[in-house]
Symmetry: C2
Subunit: 287 residues, 2 copies
């Protein structure tokens, strides 16, 4: 079966999914995106993702391309046509096609493109072994709260991670504090058992999975705090993990050359992963 | 006559100039660009622009899509097909099409797209009256020396300029010093008659026109220095101007609410504009 993509109102073979070279997404990174997980045929945290899409669009003053109801219908049609049971929907909205000029064009119509693909879940062994992260300087712009497609610094950071045998790169601000990964949020559990993640300011993207985890932690009465933490603190933490729509809660067992805990997934991380999986299959799921 | 674009080896009608939605330029801003002026049918500062293109590609480790000779031939063919006598060639190179994933893809072939269009020269009156610039916070990433297509902050800045009746926005760093415009370099002439522009570090894009102006200033024995200057200094300057491949030297006669000099183009700015025009038509031109 060949993949199908959605391009500005039409379902087309993935190989023919094209946009104009003067789409402002191509020439100016003038657009935003979201990734929504599909698990057992249902969307996970769909509404919060679409709410964040609206927020990103509003921050950039890009008109919404369609109503939320229409968008949800198209997402479902795309998942159906691609026969996705476990995978993801990627969606991107840009300011549209216009003669190249920096300011907002007068009459451009926003472009919307969606793709879908299957993804495999991490094996229990992979989760237990955890992943390595490296730390790099955060060189991004000052509006990381907007989920824009201007991802070049994230690309460079992720590539650096790969070349160092790591799953992710944690970006570090001028004060030596971790902001977030290049495509995930960063968490630690201190030696006192307190869960810590950076507060959602302009310095990070407020992850939807991040927010769900905070909600679950709160409900379970876990000790947690939103505050910046340093690289040193992370390296001496009891546990660490990353969160994202596709990584869920993925334990971190090495930061640069430092092994975290006993080099295996920590118990709080494992517990949160399990809770999140339950949440994703129940309360967080929309058919 | 309908416009023609160049897309990955083919000359196509502009309306059909399309790239795949998984071109990394569209999803990750993973690419670079150049704008080369065409004046009286010849290219201006073509070689320095192509050298900078190579540098941007090398910094991002994107392979060069073709030899410089082949690229120059395609540029000329595009200009010919579009019958451009006075205009510009826009070219963009991205890391190519690959399944969406942040790290560099293994076997992607770089994409190259070029468009060409006619542009009108500023009238003598417009030059004499000069333009207004506003000052805004520089919120960009730390590698502004790379001419990347991750231009979202530049778009937002230029839009802010337009909404304030200004031609350009000068971005200001944390120390209150001007870095550059959103698509041009920033210059002042102090009350002592010294020409000042910021040195080319990672904080700015080293303009090709900027470099040509420095060369001309040096030859003419003008007093000049490359150093950061503050917004206050700019507002009390004798003259100010912006430079770019399409703006050449454009006098600035207002910064925020402050009129510069007597509100008309300064003599040094006018002289440099004339020198640059001569240079562009002679030494800087390649047939």
């Amino acid at each position: 079966m060949s993949r199908i993509a959605y391009v500005n109102g039409r379902f087309v073979p993935h190989s023919h999914a094209e946009v104009h070279v003067e789409d402002r997404g191509y020439q100016f990174a003038d657009g935003v995106y979201e990734v929504v997980l599909v698990q057992n045929g249902v969307m996970v945290d769909e509404i919060p993702h679409l709410e964040r899409l609206d927020r990103s669009l509003d921050e950039l003053r890009i008109p919404h391309p369609m109503s939320r109801g229409a968008l949800r219908a198209q997402m479902r049609e795309l998942v159906r046509q691609n026969r996705i049971r476990n995978g993801l929907v990627y969606m991107q909205v840009t300011r549209g096609v216009a003669k190249r000029d920096h300011p907002f064009p007068k009459n451009a119509k926003p472009s919307i493109v969606m793709t879908a693909k299957r993804i495999a879940m991490a094996t229990p062994e992979a989760v237990e072994n955890g992943v390595k992260v490296i730390t790099i300087k955060d060189i991004r712009w000052e509006r990381c709260d907007i989920k824009s497609i201007a991802l070049l610094p994230n690309v460079l950071g992720k590539q650096q991670a790969r070349e160092n045998g790591a799953f992710e790169a944690w970006q570090v601000d001028e004060d030596g504090k971790v902001t977030e990964g290049t495509s995930s949020n960063a968490w630690i559990v201190t030696q006192d058992g307190e869960l810590v993640t950076r507060p959602a300011t302009n310095d990070i993207l407020n992850g939807i999975t991040r927010m769900s985890i905070l909600k679950l932690a709160d409900r379970q009465g876990l000790k947690f705090v939103e505050r910046p933490f340093s690289v040193e603190e992370a390296k001496s933490a009891r546990e660490a993990f990353v969160s994202s729509a596709t990584a869920f809660v993925t334990p971190v067992t090495q930061i640069d050359d430092t092994v975290i805990g006993n080099g295996k997934a920590g118990s709080l991380s494992r517990g949160l992963r399990d809770s999140y999986m339950d949440y994703a299959a129940g309360e967080g799921a929309t058919a």
